[in-house]
Symmetry: C2
Subunit: 346 residues, 2 copies
DNA sequence: TATATTAATGAGAGCGCTCTCATTATTAAG
DNA sequence: CTTAATAATGAGAGCGCTCTCATTAATATA
């Protein structure tokens, strides 16, 4: 079933059918009705391939999201979907699993991106946890395809990104603990191979310095975003003689791990040690009531995903983003895992 | 950059370039090298649209998954991705959110499916929780596009499906409780508007009947797969005078809700009431150690997703599945939420 | 060296649309 | 009723590939 047959059946030319399909003006109402009737009758759907070929546009946006099986990342997809849902664009999907990018030699970013382009996407929305390889950017630039990075922010002037202000978020988190009277504050970082981890560490340091508090190496543990990372990080931190009275974790999952570790060591949260996380994922779990109500810096992942999608849609429609860097603020969500330092009667 | 230009640059015809791109035989080695050099030099990637048009095949498989922000469903995507990862196929993505299908009038199945087809997918892998509307099937059949349903199984002979044996799984779960000596066993169902919920209820009834145990209406609560459903279901069940000593939940999330409700009512799990769930999602959460180690019937979602993808890939490559219904077995995973009935010294 | 056979390559049609531009139908103006 | 203006429609080229079939190059055989 093609446009030719529809035209024949309706007794008009292909051009007229095309006008009807695309809702173009300049078709007499009676003709339009006639054509629409035929289209409905035979359940005609125009060939996407033919359209893409002549328009040089597939109306498909490629997405490369770190690990959608975790709600934190899944929410980005949801946001992106929100952003495209009222448009003619659809989503092509690459890589849903963490290990694929990190450990699978066969699947470097470049190969995944290449695969995306081979399938004809018009633009790409992606998360990059590790700092983007120069080679990857060069590749994207060379194929001249619009791309937007979410979650991570780069100082490369070529990259459009949507992310949270990690320095400020970490600063706010640390400062919240300081305001509660804590002076000895630990930090289990997120991945320091990414700008995200580095920025959060920087925010932590900024807050400590500004408050005139000493930054102790033994209070900073190189971690990651997983439960396990938080678990081991917390063990390490709490094993010191002068253990901190509060710990800032680079992610909520790692904070959960830290809380678990503290309990295992016979320490109460927050009575013995306060804990603050980052991300704000708790509510995304159906079983959130079973999880510690962790105090955290919430990232508006849904909004950010949506924003990225909207920017991309507009871009593909001819309106290049007028900024390179779109920054959101992480919001402090007070849970039950922080309390004022008991010695301190503020 | 198109095949014409590559041909010109390499001093050969378009046909030869095409042969090289597609790794077809009958090209002299020296010619092949020459063409490949040009392709590499200009970073040429063939137009997906043009290819699709002439081949009448986009090599894109559409997926319609219930709610990817929950790991249970996200795992299906992971499995599907596993199944296509070593092939030339890619994934197009529709609908990531529960509400979109259930509550958004604008997004009926048919519209989503139509959208998928408009974007040119070759086949569709989808989850349908509610029983598939006859109209939806008719539509899919009318556009003659291969589709595979995962997670739900229909007795419509036209539908290829990959799912778990829900009757047997529920039977096994209930029987496990019976073998532990329980005689008064409750059931918080999953959605009874879906075959899944009905089948699990049936399995429960089968086991009870076979054991000669009475099926009490007050022990069966119409629920759903969410935490909330389990929570309210459990409250209802435990409020009866002769409350059951064990409860089978239609999902793990609802089991979590049930466990939470029991605790709230001052009852211990499993000492006062045993709980068994369905799905086997606990390990998919990074913070699984913080969750009750619920006894459950694990569904091999990853394998099922992979299988569906493989079936689809083969189908699109010309080999129609030789069965209509692919059934997996749910596997009993013994956790810490069940114990023998104390009165019973078996 | 001439001929038969096989390997390598090219010419050209066609996939199903869109879009420009020419043509025809319709209405308005004189 | 004729002409000018506008509205509606159609003809046809072209998007970038694939694939068949014809042609030419290379090799084997006599």
């Amino acid at each position: 079933m093609n446009i030719e047959l529809i035209a024949k059946k309706a007794g008009v030319s292909r051009a007229t059918v095309s006008r009807v399909i695309n809702n173009f003006p300049g078709v007499k109402e009676t003709t339009r009705k006639k054509v629409e009737a035929v289209i409905d009758e035979v359940n005609y759907i125009p060939s996407a391939a033919a359209r893409s070929l002549v328009r040089k546009k597939s109306n498909i946006i490629g997405t490369l999201i770190y690990n959608i099986t975790q709600p934190f990342w899944g929410n980005y997809i949801s946001g992106i979907e929100d952003g495209v849902s009222s448009t003619d664009y659809g989503l092509f999907f690459a890589n849903s699993k963490e290990h694929t990018i990190f450990w699978d030699e066969q699947k470097t970013y470049k190969k995944i991106l290449r695969n995306l382009i081979c399938h004809g996407v018009d633009g790409i929305i992606m998360t990059f946890l590790n700092d983007l390889d120069k080679e990857d950017i060069d590749f994207l630039e060379s194929v001249k395809i619009p791309y937007i990075v979410i979650q991570n922010c780069f100082n490369d002037p070529r990259i459009v990104s949507v992310s949270v202000d990690n320095v400020k978020g970490a600063y706010d988190a640390t400062n919240y603990l300081i305001k509660l009277g804590h002076v000895s504050i630990g930090h289990v970082t997120s991945l320091l191979t990414s700008g995200i981890g580095k920025d959060r560490l920087k925010g932590y340091c900024n807050a400590m310095e500004q408050a005139g508090l000493e930054i102790l190496n033994e209070n900073i543990v190189n971690g990651g975003h997983s439960f396990k990372d938080g678990y081991w990080g917390m063990k390490q931190i709490l094993n010191h003689e002068n253990k901190p009275t509060a710990v800032f974790f680079g992610s909520d999952e790692s904070a959960f791990g830290g809380i678990y570790a503290a309990k295992e060591m016979g320490l109460r949260v927050p009575e013995d040690v306060s804990v603050i996380g980052f991300d704000g994922v708790r509510d995304t779990f159906d079983h959130s009531l079973l999880l510690p109500n962790v105090t955290t810096m919430r990232q508006p992942t849904l909004e950010m995903g949506k924003r990225a999608a909207e920017l991309m849609v507009n871009w593909l429609d001819g309106n290049e983003p007028n900024q390179k860097v779109y920054i959101y603020e992480a919001e402090l969500i007070e849970g039950d895992t922080c309390m004022p330092l008991s010695n301190d009667t503020n």
